[in-house]
Amino acid sequence: MQGLPIIVLAEDDDGHALLIQHGLRKAGFLNPVVHCGNGQEALDYLERPEGEAVASKVLLLDISMPGIDGVEVLRRIRAERRFDTMPVIMITTTDDPREVARCQALGCSHYIVKTVNWNLFHSALRELERFLNPAPFRPD
């Protein structure tokens, strides 16, 4: 499994974090996942020296988080040139079109709504293949 990007998951709700990881595994993504409990933790992780190989990371961002929220994290990351190539995927409960438009304007790569319907959520997660598994990938 060499070469799979690391998933940096910024999510304050532990239940959601578990469900997302579970869903990712179920969708066949075997990428290592780093769970950060809030926006600041995610930023700190990305700032770490070993985090410089940014091409190998994908950020999954919840929007509503205490302290620095997901939109702010997105804004800060997109302000830095070295993170230009890093995919940032918003993963949130809000499907307000204004919020989606705001994140798209700030340069998010993809927007996933955490639907209550589990099946819908899973098919949404499967759409992440192009970010999480750049090489052709076939689940057994």
Partner: protein, 494 residues
């Protein structure tokens, strides 16, 4: 005729006087020439000259008296008018002075009427150039609670409420002493301590040197309006607060309430996944052994409970979604444009293709006129009416839905006619209420769809009506502006 005869009299008297004086002069000159030629100066001539002189003096005095008597009347009348007394009847005689007196009377009456009208409407005060009150009308006394005598000679400080900064009055004085009119709202204090508001106009009355000699202040009582405005502002603030609360609530609904729901549904699904290996463990056939039997029963119960949990969570999410849509309808400003109704209807039908096929519904779309509306809102209306027809179809027969439209001058009417379960007439109005469901146990809806339809139409100035026959079907008619030039919006027709 009177006027010309009076003028003739004066002229006659004057002519006679001039003739007498001329004869006297000629006699004197003639006799003096004679006497210089040697003849004597006769005594009777001196006597005659004296008589003529006295006569001339009497005529002169008489004329002067006649003229000054009438002029004095005019002067006296002018004084009376200035003091505001009732004008007297004009002088007779028909000469210039009598015409002048008549004109003065007319002017006086006009001035009286104007100030009366002003007094009827306004609070009036006049001050001298230093701001000392020289006149106040009854309304001024009435609103301020002061007697006239208490005000005359004082300045307006008597009624100063203290609510305006000194700069306010400084600016006012700068304006009016610079010969300009000042306008503004002033809060004053009456004698009893109550405050009142007056919309004020102060006009400087300029003297011959172009500088103000006095100021006329005309005011209107706006206390009532101010109170209303204050109440309105209070209500507006309250409304804004409530709207903010609503925003918070909507955010809570869209995010905070859904967050735990995601967990409920997500972990229920995780448990359900775990049931798969457990089923394998206990086997599908419950009769094998007592322990596998018990295990299989437990698994079945868990599965059943999970079904309720998931259904409940999904229902709750649908409710939250409906609420969100409903609240967004109220917040977004509709963008009215000419809509291709047929296109929007076919898009909505396309989006619901799966449900339509599942229900084996037969949907007929007739030719539809264009209308004036917001594309998003119109789409919401169509998809919710379609949804409503699908939900409340009669299970005994396949759904038939006919969508037609017609244009009646300024209005477009679209009809959605179905053969569903129908609505009783006493429920016509209630079906459009939020969260109102006619048959909660048996209907799959949440009581949001038709509320959205009505709200969307409200936003576009349209309306929706319903007609129905129980067990036969329902017709929803929506009316919108056709957008043809020269018609107003629908509010004009309501």
């Amino acid at each position: 005729m009177r006027r010309s005869s009076s003028q003739f009299n004066v002229l006659l008297l004057l002519t006679a006087g001039v003739c007498f004086l001329a004869q006297l002069g000629m006699d004197y000159w003639f006799l003096r020439r004679n006497s210089m030629a040697g003849a004597g100066f006769p005594w009777w001539l001196t006597f005659q000259a004296l008589v003529f002189l006295i006569f001339a003096a009497i005529i002169f005095l008489l004329l002067t008296w006649l003229v000054t008597r009438r002029l004095n009347w005019l002067v006296e009348e002018a004084g009376r008018i200035e003091n505001g007394e009732e004008p007297r009847d004009p002088l007779g005689g028909g000469d210039a002075v009598s015409r002048l007196s008549a004109a003065m009377r007319r002017m006086a009456l006009r001035k009286r009427d104007l100030s009366k009208a002003l007094d009827e409407h306004s609070i009036v005060a006049i001050t001298d150039k230093d701001g000392r009150i020289t006149f106040v009308n009854d309304r001024f006394c009435q609103i301020s609670g002061y007697a006239r005598e208490e005000l005359i000679g004082k300045t307006h400080r008597v009624i100063n409420s203290g609510r305006h900064p000194a700069e306010f009055f400084k600016e006012m004085w700068r304006t009016i002493s610079g010969s300009a009119v000042w306008r503004g709202d002033i809060e004053n204090r009456a004698r009893d301590g109550s405050h009142y508001f007056v919309a004020t106009t102060i006009m400087p009355c300029l003297g011959l040197d172009g500088k103000p000699e006095q100021y006329i202040a005309i005011r209107t009582d706006i206390t009532e309006q101010k109170a209303t405005a204050a109440r309105l502002e209070l209500l507006t603030n309250e409304l804004e607060t409530k709207n903010r609360d609503l925003e918070v609530l909507i955010h809570a609904a869209s995010h905070d309430l859904r967050t735990p729901l995601v967990n409920v549904q997500g972990f229920a699904s995780v448990i359900r996944e775990q049931l798969v290996p457990m089923k394998e463990l206990f086997g599908e056939d419950p009769a094998e052994t007592p322990s596998t039997f018990k295990g299989a029963v437990v698994i079945r119960e868990i599965e059943e409970s999970l079904g309720f949990i998931c259904a409940g969570a999904e229902k709750m999410e649908a409710l939250l979604k409906g609420l969100l849509v409903f609240s967004r309808l109220g917040r977004q400003k509709p963008e009215l444009q000419i809509l291709d109704a047929e296109k929007i209807v076919s898009q909505s039908l396309g989006a619901s293709r799966f449900q339509i096929d599942e229900a084996e519904a037969e949907i007929t779309v007739h030719s539809l006129p264009v209308c004036l509306g917001d594309p998003g809102l119109f789409g919401q209306i169509v998809s919710n009416l379609l949804d409503n027809a699908l939900k409340y179809r009669d299970p005994a027969r396949p759904l038939k839905l006919s969508i037609s439209g017609s244009q009646q001058e300024a209005l477009c009417v679209y009809r959605f006619q179905d053969n569903g379960i129908g609505i009783e007439p006493q429920h016509y109005e209630r079906v459009f209420e939020l969260f109102h469901r006619l048959n909660p146990r048996h209907s799959p809806g949440y009581g949001i769809g038709l509320a959205i339809v009505r709200r969307a139409l409200d936003r576009m100035g349209g309306r929706v009506t319903v007609e129905s026959v129980l067990n036969e079907g329902t017709v929803f008619s929506i009316t919108l502006s056709s957008g043809s030039p020269g018609n107003g919006n629908l509010f004009a027709h309501n």
